[in-house]
């Protein structure tokens, strides 16, 4: 019986730090498997968590076939690809302790004013897809991530801000070099006036909500997305390009093959180029259904069916650095926490800003009060887009900084 088996393994050491001291160590080594049987144009799926041989899993799946998902598309033909990042795996999991020590050194001088609680994790990820017909897709790499939530001593808030970093290697120094000047300015509380200001979200991903929907084949082709019918149309500023990125080892992205075995060699799939909508993403089912190209975006977990999803949405880089742009702006609202925002179906966007700073000509003036910003998807990447930087706020950010004018209200 034709089938494929997805095996995921994660081995990790996670260390929790409370008020600068290690509170706990968590060890994990868990294997999850998912099998798909293809029979009479139907897909039967079964999953398992724990140790089980492929033969046992196949037997189990064959015995438990009950409901199949219809399919009428051509499956990937025995693809083979191996992406092992040996270099990333050289250090043991306990190497994450070095990051803790470095961070403790940098934060020590702030410990009278702030409480720092966080987590450090180093993990090794293995993902394998095999079939009896010869499919053999493997990737294996190590990944590091850490964060600290910080809180001013006596603050009634859950947290007042955070630092975080993830990737193949860590650059703790860069994170603190970029973030600590803002922490220094935390106690300088400013007053502010409603108005239109340049705004930089240091994590820009939350701005993509409504746009992202339009770039997925099913929503786009059904006509239910904001930008349905706009392919090959200029919808944004010529400064704005957007890519689906599947491979960037420095940032821990090794997704050259997707959950259906579709290999995409093109690491940066252009979705928007110079403001023009160029591509939408599709898995094998939606590619066949809507007559578009499968783009290697069939996302699948061990226990889930395939769905269309982005690998990583990344804006095309501009020419000047983030700091150069900040230096050139008379005023800019730099947003470190803007959680809970959303869009209406018309594309109107609004979010409160829990932590933002005023920067004038590159100098941090102080912390802004609680604000709300408002824009629209059409405006923030279109007529009100100011500039896109050549880099992100810190080195580990894959996303270049995006500066857009927004309406800012004091809460």
């Amino acid at each position: 019986m034709k089938h494929d088996i997805l095996t995921l393994n994660e081995e990790s050491l996670s260390i929790e730090v409370i008020a600068g001291k290690i509170n706990s160590y968590r060890n994990k080594n868990i294997t999850k498997k998912g099998i798909r049987l293809f029979e009479n144009n139907k897909i039967y799926s079964t999953s398992f968590v724990g140790q089980i041989t492929d033969a046992e899993l196949l037997k189990k799946a064959a015995a438990s076939k009950s409901v199949g998902i219809p399919f009428d598309y051509t499956l990937a033909t025995n693809p083979q690809l191996k992406t092992f990042d040996e270099e990333s795996m050289k250090a043991p999991l306990t190497a994450i302790n070095e990051a803790i020590e470095l961070s403790q050194e940098r934060l020590a001088k702030y410990s009278n004013d702030f409480v720092f609680n966080g987590k450090f994790e180093r993990s090794i990820h293995t993902r394998t897809m095999t079939s009896a017909d010869g499919m053999l897709l493997e990737r294996k790499f190590a990944y590091n991530e850490w964060h600290y939530l910080f809180k001013r001593v006596g603050s009634p808030n859950l947290m007042d801000g955070y630092f975080e970093e993830s990737g193949k290697t860590l650059d703790i120094k860069d994170v603190f070099d970029k973030n600590l000047p803002y922490l220094e300015a935390y106690k300088t509380e400013l007053t502010f006036k409603d108005g239109k200001y340049p705004v930089l979200f240091i994590e820009g991903g939350q701005l993509f909500g409504k746009l992202a929907e339009s770039l997925v084949a099913e929503k786009y082709c059904e006509g239910s997305a904001l930008f349905s019918g706009k392919l090959n149309t200029q919808i944004f500023s010529p400064q704005f390009s957007l890519y689906d990125v599947n491979y960037s080892p420095a940032h821990g992205l090794y997704k050259k093959f997707d959950g259906e075995g579709t290999i995409r060699e093109l690491s940066h799939l252009p979705l928007i180029e110079k403001g023009m909508m160029k591509n939408i993403i599709a898995d094998l089912r939606t590619a066949k259904k809507y007559g578009v190209e499968a783009t290697g975006n069939g996302q699948r977990g061990s226990d889930s069916a395939v769905s269309t999803g982005f690998n990583s949405l990344v804006i095309g880089a501009g020419k000047r650095s983030t700091q150069d742009i900040l230096n050139s702006l008379d005023e800019c609202v730099v947003v470190f926490m803007g959680h809970g925002g959303d869009f209406t179906d018309k594309g109107d966007f609004s979010t409160p800003l829990q932590l933002s700073y005023l920067v004038k000509k590159g100098e941090i003036v102080g912390r802004l009060p609680q604000l709300t910003v408002k824009s629209t998807t059409q405006d923030m990447f279109g007529s009100r887009l100011l500039e896109i930087a050549s880099n992100g706020f810190q080195k580990s950010n894959l996303q270049p900084s995006l500066f857009s004018e927004m309406d800012v209200y004091v809460n």
């Binding site: 060890n27 999953s47 998902i69 925002g341 109107d348």
Partner: protein
């Protein structure tokens, strides 16, 4: 596999450590989804795994494993890891023996007993409904269920087991008329499969009302009087004050208990907020937490006065208070941390119509997409209406409503008499790496004198 027997055979007292406990979880879940009438996802997921915690030399050592028959080996490994660490004083006061509580009683109605084909057949029977809804451009029909059994044992002698059973069905449509779009969803939460049948009229009525939003205007940003429905009150309670009541955020802060002094007036006097895990049949059901502390009715605010907070054993230790039954993990892969269960504002006496009269010129919020906590909490609504002449008037589009938690708690002017506790089988609460955790929240309709809406 007889899990209780596995734990019975495990002698935790013999290990030379300060404290050790073991939690085994066996879950069976299933799901399916139709997209635009096409079955695109279906599956069953059996999981069996254990989480081991050991406290020694001043730190915790955890392991999550699927080898549930080899827990003794796992504990020995943790002990070696603990003893290889530089010793610190054991500051953790071991919990009391909370007794033995075996509460498994839902097996008869377990969704795991129902064949996946029967569940999908039910979904299939609802598909013709989408053709009866006007202006449907895109549709989803989603189903999910979960039957979970938890077993626990600790070195101080506490033991428990209980089970949890829930399912949900959700009908989601994007409506389109001309260039105008509106997305909305009807959902239903159940603890018995039979309750998922005969929903046709409710679904059609729901999407009939949704049509009005296609022509709704976008709100002018500003501050408005607000009436929240019980569903919105629930998410407001959870996001605004529930998260702030989780004592782990106070860890390491020597000033925290002074800032959060019990007995302080922090809300309107008509406001009482409770967290209580013992409501069976809700998604917040947690009769005993993942450290063996029994659920109790915890008043976080009583008549506007701060009266409590949510604890694990660890946070209770540090703050020298009592554990409250709120140490929860999303599954066997994670350690328990301080979480909510069922969190709600207690019902008041004001009829809904009176609340509308008191909120002239304001906005009524009916349901929501998501909410988030923080110094400023937010709720992204789906349906909102203007209030005119003491009645609900035209629909209006809103991205988010937000406010400062402490200011908003003091601006609650009245609580309605229409208390409702809302459960959901889809999603749940997210905190750091652990998401989603099933919780419930609710309350009555409430009137808030001013909130930021944009």
């Amino acid at each position: 596999m007889d899990i209780k027997n596995i734990l019975d055979q495990l002698d935790l007292k013999k290990f030379d450590c300060h404290f050790v406990d073991v939690r085994i979880e066996r879950t069976q879940s299933s799901h399916f989804m139709y997209q635009n009438g096409e079955l695109t996802s279906t599956g069953e997921k059996p999981v069996l795994g254990a989480f081991v915690r050991l406290y020694q030399n001043g730190s915790w050592f955890y392991s999550s494993t699927t080898a549930v028959t080899e827990l003794e080996t796992e504990i020995k490994k943790l002990l070696i890891q603990a003893n290889s660490n530089k010793p610190k004083a054991n500051s953790y006061t071991v919990p009391s023996n909370n007794g033995i509580h075996h509460l498994i009683n839902k097996a008869e109605d377990a969704f795991s007993k129902i064949a996946l084909s029967e569940k999908v057949k039910l979904g299939d029977s609802y598909l013709p409904l989408f053709k009866k809804i006007r202006n449907v451009q895109d549709s989803r029909l989603m189903y999910t269920d979960l039957y979970k059994e938890k077993f626990y044992k600790s070195s101080v002698g506490t033991e428990f087991s209980y089970d949890f059973n829930q399912a949900g069905i959700r009908f989601h449509c994007t409506l389109k008329s001309g260039e105008e779009l509106f997305s909305d969803g009807f959902r239903n939460y159940v603890t018995k499969f039979s309750e998922l049948k005969n929903l046709e009229k409710q679904i059609l009525d729901y999407f009939d009302e949704a049509q009005k939003f296609l022509t709704a205007e976008t709100i002018t940003p500003g501050k408005y009087k607000v009436v929240m429905s019980p569903e919105i009150t629930g998410v407001f309670t959870h996001e605004s004050f529930g998260h702030k009541s989780e004592a782990d955020f106070m860890m390491g802060d020597p000033e925290a208990t002074k800032e959060w002094k019990m007995g302080s007036l922090i809300g309107s006097t008509c406001l009482s907020i409770v967290d209580y895990g013992a409501f069976d049949g809700t998604s917040g059901y947690c009769p005993i937490d993942d450290e063996g502390t029994l659920a109790q009715k915890n008043y976080l605010i009583k008549d506007g006065i701060l009266t409590g907070r949510l604890h694990s054993n660890h946070t209770a230790n540090v703050l020298e208070e009592k554990p409250t039954g709120n140490a929860r993990a999303i599954n066997f892969e994670y350690e328990p941390i301080v979480r909510m269960t069922s969190t709600y504002i207690e019902g008041g006496k004001t009829p809904f119509n009176e609340l509308l009269k008191m909120a002239e010129g304001g906005i009524y919020f009916y349901n929501f997409k998501h909410g988030s906590g923080g110094s400023t909490f937010t709720i992204a609504p789906v349906r909102a209406y203007r209030i005119k002449d003491g009645k609900l008037a035209e629909p209006v589009r809103v991205s988010v409503m937000s406010g400062s938690v402490f200011e908003t708690l003091k601006k609650i002017e009245a609580c309605g008499d229409d208390f409702h506790l809302e459960s959901s089988a889809f999603g749940g609460c997210g905190k750091m790496e652990q998401s989603p955790l099933p919780v419930a929240d609710g309350g009555p309709s409430i009137l808030v004198s001013e909130m930021q809406i944009s």
